[in-house]
C-alpha cells in the first residue's frame, strides 16, 4: 500500500473522529482524484473513523451530539466516494429493517443504530418512527431482510416490541430473521423476556452483535 493512500485513509478516519465535514469531503475528493478504490476509502477510512467514534462514546469521551456530528462527517465523505463505487466490487450486503415502535417518536437511538449498521456493512431500510407492528413484517418480507431492529426510548411503548415478535411468529417468519431491540429503557433481561435475539446497551456494540447474529444464522441455515 502506498504511503499516500495510507495517509489519506488515516485522514479520512480522523476527519470523522474530529467531526470535520469539510475535511472529510476534501480528503475524499483527493482520494478519488488519485484513483484509489472508493470502497476502500469507505471501509478502511470513514468506517474506521466512525467505529472509533463509537468506541469513544462507549468510553464516555463522546456523547450523542458528538456522535451525530461524526456521522455527518462520515456521510459527507461517503457522498463523495459512493458514486465512484463499481457495484461488483461491493460485498453482497445483508438487508436490515429498522424503526421506532408505535407510540414513540424518539429516534436518536434508532438513527445511531442505523449508522453503525451501515458502517458494519448492512443495507438498511429505515421505517422511521411511530411504526405500526405490521409495517415491520411487511417490509422485512418484501426485502427479504435478515435483521429487524426495534427501538424505543419510552417505557410506555416497550410492549409493542413483543407484539412485532409475536406477529413474526404468526407469519411463520420468526426463524428467518434476527430481531434486535434497543433504546433507553430496554435491558438484556427485557430482550430475553420478549424473545428477542439480541440487545446491546449502545449502538456500535449493537451493530457488531447484529452482524455476528446474522452471520451465525446464515451459517446455520446453510
Amino acid at each position: 500500500m502506498s504511503h499516500i493512500k495510507e495517509k489519506l485513509l488515516k485522514d479520512l478516519a480522523e476527519s470523522v473522529v474530529d467531526m470535520d465535514e469539510d475535511n472529510a469531503v476534501d480528503i475524499a475528493n483527493d482520494f478519488i482524484e488519485r484513483k484509489y478504490d472508493p470502497y476502500e476509502g469507505i471501509s478502511n477510512g470513514l468506517a474506521i473513523g466512525m467505529d472509533k467514534a463509537g468506541k469513544l462514546y462507549e468510553e464516555e469521551e463522546y456523547y450523542i451530539p458528538e456522535l451525530l456530528m461524526c456521522s455527518d462527517a462520515m456521510y459527507a465523505g461517503m457522498d463523495v466516494l459512493r458514486p465512484h463505487l463499481k457495484y461488483d466490487e461491493t460485498d453482497e450486503k445483508y438487508k436490515a429493517v429498522v424503526g421506532v415502535v408505535e407510540g414513540d417518536t424518539h429516534d436518536i437511538g434508532k438513527n445511531l443504530f442505523k449508522i453503525m449498521l451501515e458502517t458494519t456493512g448492512f443495507e438498511v431500510y429505515d421505517l422511521g418512527r411511530d411504526v405500526p407492528p405490521n409495517e415491520f413484517i411487511n417490509k422485512a418480507k418484501e426485502l427479504g431482510a435478515k435483521l429487524i431492529g426495534l427501538s424505543t426510548l419510552m417505557t410506555t411503548t416497550m410492549d409493542n416490541m413483543e407484539i412485532v415478535i409475536n406477529l413474526l411468529k404468526e407469519e411463520g417468519m420468526r426463524d428467518d430473521v434476527v430481531v434486535m431491540v434497543g433504546g433507553g429503557p430496554i435491558s438484556q433481561n427485557f430482550a430475553d423476556k420478549i424473545g428477542a435475539d439480541g440487545y446491546a446497551p449502545e449502538a456500535s456494540r449493537a451493530a457488531r452483535l447484529a452482524k455476528d447474529l446474522v452471520r451465525g444464522k446464515m451459517n446455520a441455515i446453510v
Binding site: I64, P65, G103, T105, I108, T155, T156, G184
Partner: protein
C-alpha cells in the same frame, strides 16, 4: 418517637422537605412519569385519547388512580406534548394505550425560534390542563396535586428534529441559547399558571436533556441552568416544592445534580439509590421501582423491589419512569401497600 398518622398531602410535603414522617409516600407525578393504566380507564369509564383534551375527564382519570388504591397523588397532564403543541408542534393524540406524541415539528433549526408561537394559556390543551387542576383543587381533598412540566431540552427537541437540535448545541451555541431562553420563558409562564390554578407541587421531567445523552459539559451548559431558571421562578409560589426527574445514567453528572435547585431528585432504575444518596446531599430522593417489573412481574417481586428502595434510602417511593398503560392495578397497589407497611426508621434516624 412516633408521629401521628399524616394526611397524604402533609406526608408528601414533609417528605419533600426531608422532615419527619410516619412513612414514605408512594406517588407517581404524571406527565412523562405516566400513572394512567388501562385498568383505571375501565373502572372510571374515562379513556385515552379523549381524556387528553377534556378537563373533566382528565381530572376524573387521575382521581381514579388514587381512589382505587393506587398512587397517593393526583397529577396532570398524561403526556409530554402540551407545551410543544401550544408553541406550534403538531401532535397526534394516540390511542387508549399509546401516548400522545409530536408528529410534525414547526421549525428546522435553532436559528428559526422566532417563528414559534408564544405558549397560549387560554386555549387548547394548556387550558385543559389548567382547568383540570382547578377541578382537582375544587375537590378540596387531602390528596396532593402535582402539575407536570416538560423540561426545557425536551420541549426544545419537540419543536425541531432532535438530531439537528443536538448537533446545533455544538454548531450554533449562541442561537441555541436564544432558543432555550425563549422556550424556558414560555415554560415558566405555563408552570406559574399551573400553580395558580391550584397545584401543590411542580414536577419537571427532561428525558431528552440527560447527562447520558448530552455529556457533562453540554448538560451543565444547556440543561441545568434552564431547569434552575424555572425552579427559581416558581419556587416561592409552590406550596409543596419542586421535583426534577432525570432519566438515564447519572454518573457523569453527579456533581452538577447538586447544583439543581429543586427540592427532590427523581431518577431511573438504572441509577442506584444508595449511590445517588451518597452523591446528592441537598435533595430528597425519589424512586425508583423498575417500570418493567411493574408491568411484567408479580406483586411479590414488586413488593421486594419497593422494600429495597425504601431500605436504600428513598424519601419518596415512586416508579422509575412512566408506567406502561398495560400495567395491572394490582401491581401498583402492591407498591402502595409496601409504603403503608413501612415505618420510616431510616428517615427519622437520619434527622435525629
Amino acid at each position: 418517637m412516633t408521629i401521628k398518622s399524616l394526611s397524604k398531602k402533609e406526608r408528601l410535603f414533609r417528605a419533600i422537605k426531608r422532615e419527619k414522617i410516619d412513612r414514605p409516600p408512594c406517588i407517581c407525578p404524571g406527565g412523562m412519569m405516566n400513572m394512567i393504566i388501562e385498568d383505571i380507564m375501565d373502572i372510571t369509564k374515562v379513556e385515552w385519547p379523549e381524556a387528553h383534551r377534556d378537563a373533566e375527564m382528565m381530572a376524573k382519570l387521575t382521581m381514579g388512580v388514587c381512589e382505587n388504591g393506587g398512587f397517593e397523588n393526583f397529577g396532570v397532564p398524561f403526556c409530554m406534548t402540551v407545551e410543544a403543541e401550544s408553541m406550534g408542534a403538531t401532535v397526534g393524540l394516540g390511542t387508549k394505550i399509546n401516548e400522545p406524541r409530536v408528529i410534525e415539528y414547526p421549525i428546522n433549526s435553532v436559528t428559526e425560534w422566532k417563528n414559534l408561537k408564544e405558549l397560549n394559556l387560554n386555549k387548547g390543551r394548556t387550558k385543559v390542563v389548567l382547568d383540570a387542576i382547578k377541578i382537582l383543587k375544587s375537590k378540596n381533598s387531602d390528596v396532593p396535586i402535582i402539575a407536570n412540566l416538560v423540561g426545557p431540552v425536551s420541549t426544545a427537541s419537540s419543536l425541531m428534529e432532535p438530531v439537528d437540535y443536538y448537533k446545533e448545541l455544538r454548531k450554533k451555541p449562541k442561537e441555541a441559547h436564544e432558543f432555550m431562553e425563549f422556550v424556558t420563558k414560555n415554560l415558566i409562564c405555563f408552570a406559574k399558571a399551573e400553580i395558580e390554578a391550584g397545584a401543590d407541587i411542580l414536577a419537571i421531567s427532561d428525558p431528552s436533556g440527560t447527562g447520558e445523552i448530552l455529556g457533562p459539559k453540554l448538560f451543565a451548559e444547556f440543561a441545568a441552568p434552564y431547569l434552575n431558571k424555572i425552579v427559581s421562578a416558581i419556587k416561592n409560589y409552590t406550596p409543596g416544592g419542586t421535583i426534577i426527574h432525570i432519566c438515564g445514567k447519572l454518573k457523569s453528572v453527579y456533581g452538577i445534580l447538586n447544583s439543581l435547585d429543586s427540592d427532590v431528585i427523581s431518577f431511573d432504575s438504572i441509577a442506584n439509590v444508595k449511590e445517588v444518596a451518597n452523591n446528592v446531599n441537598n435533595k430528597a430522593i425519589m424512586g425508583n421501582v423498575s417500570t418493567l417489573a411493574l408491568e411484567k412481574s408479580s406483586p411479590d417481586i414488586i413488593k421486594n423491589l419497593s422494600r429495597g428502595c425504601i431500605k436504600s434510602g428513598v424519601n419518596i417511593l415512586s416508579p422509575a419512569c412512566g408506567i406502561g398503560p398495560r400495567t395491572k392495578l394490582e401491581n401498583i397497589q402492591s407498591m402502595v401497600e409496601v409504603a403503608k407497611e413501612s415505618a420510616s426508621e431510616n428517615i427519622i434516624l437520619k434527622l435525629s
